[in-house]
């Protein structure tokens, strides 16, 4: 992508994200949130984040790989346990990256 196109994407993303944030804060007088939209939006974080995480772990080499040779899957599962029990960004990063480095060194 050209340098100019990257600028356009960044500025458009910034502007549109601002409009999402402003939406109901600005329009509340005229418009309240419909029930169906509220229901659907509840599931956005779980659906989107899983759609980002799972391909990165299950397809780390390009093809779907659920064998023990998939080091990122193993390191990711360990990190998921740490995230589940501690909710700590720092510990999850440390265990996940540490496990990947160790596995890469061993194989």
């Amino acid at each position: 992508m050209s340098h100019t196109m990257v600028w356009i994407v960044i500025l458009a993303a910034g502007l549109c994200t601002f409009l999402l944030r402003l939406s109901f804060i600005q329009l509340w007088q005229w418009l309240s949130m419909p029930q169906w939209l509220h229901r659907a939006l509840q599931y956005v974080p779980a659906a989107v984040l899983a759609a980002l995480v799972m391909p990165a772990l299950l397809r780390s080499g390009g093809a779907i790989d659920i064998s023990p040779d998939n080091l990122r899957l193993i390191a990711g599962c360990l990190a998921a346990l740490v995230a589940w029990y501690t909710r700590s960004v720092l510990l999850t990063l440390a265990v996940g990256m540490g496990a990947l480095w160790l596995l890469q060194a061993l194989t």
């Binding site: 402003l22 939406s23 600005q26 599931y43 659906a47 759609a51």
Partner: protein, 239 residues
Amino acid sequence: MKTRRSSFGAGVTAVSVMLPGVAPFGLIAGVTAASADLSIAQAMVLSMTVFAGASQLAMLQLISENAIPAVILLTALTINLRFVMYSASLAPHMQHLGAGWRAPLAFFLVDQNYALGVRRYEAGGEDEKWFGHWFYLGVSLALWVTWQTSTLVGLLLGTGVPREWSLDFAIPLVFLVLLIPALHQRPHIAAALTGGLVATVAAPLPFNLGIMIGAAAGITAGVLFERLVPAHASAEAGK
């Protein structure tokens, strides 16, 4: 007695325990921006305007994979759709403020200041009408400054990180930390499993559309699960 200044200070104090979780995330965003070959100006404008880690990381990943601009933008906006929900939830507390307040308050809206702000408004009395936005502003500015500083540090360190360190793996790890608290009830787990599996299967589709298709499938699964599985049945099974 509550004042503007004490409310602002209470906001900074309330968010300070969250900042150690925000800074490493910003660092990763900075390092990723450096390895995606963005200029420092581009990376900082991205960080200052979008100001939402998960969408920034997804955008950087797609930029380095040479995805088309429309997909990069749509993916970022899908991730940020949750802000519409936050906006609607905070809106009733901000209606007495003029546009001069509402626009900047909206500009800073992210997960942490939403959570702290809405709690403050709901627990506080009538006087939060005059002081609540100062509390929210204290939270927001502390978050924003921490985010920009840590992104800049990551950006400056980033170019020196060798490929063998597999630092790109930090991105799914960060998403993982954000995903876990989002799984509070069974429909959310259904949404995550469906979204994740569909995105994995759909990953080879052109234009990196897999993430969006996965997200749409996951949201649909969550809504259907909520509708089809009666709440008491899922509560029973959850015991």
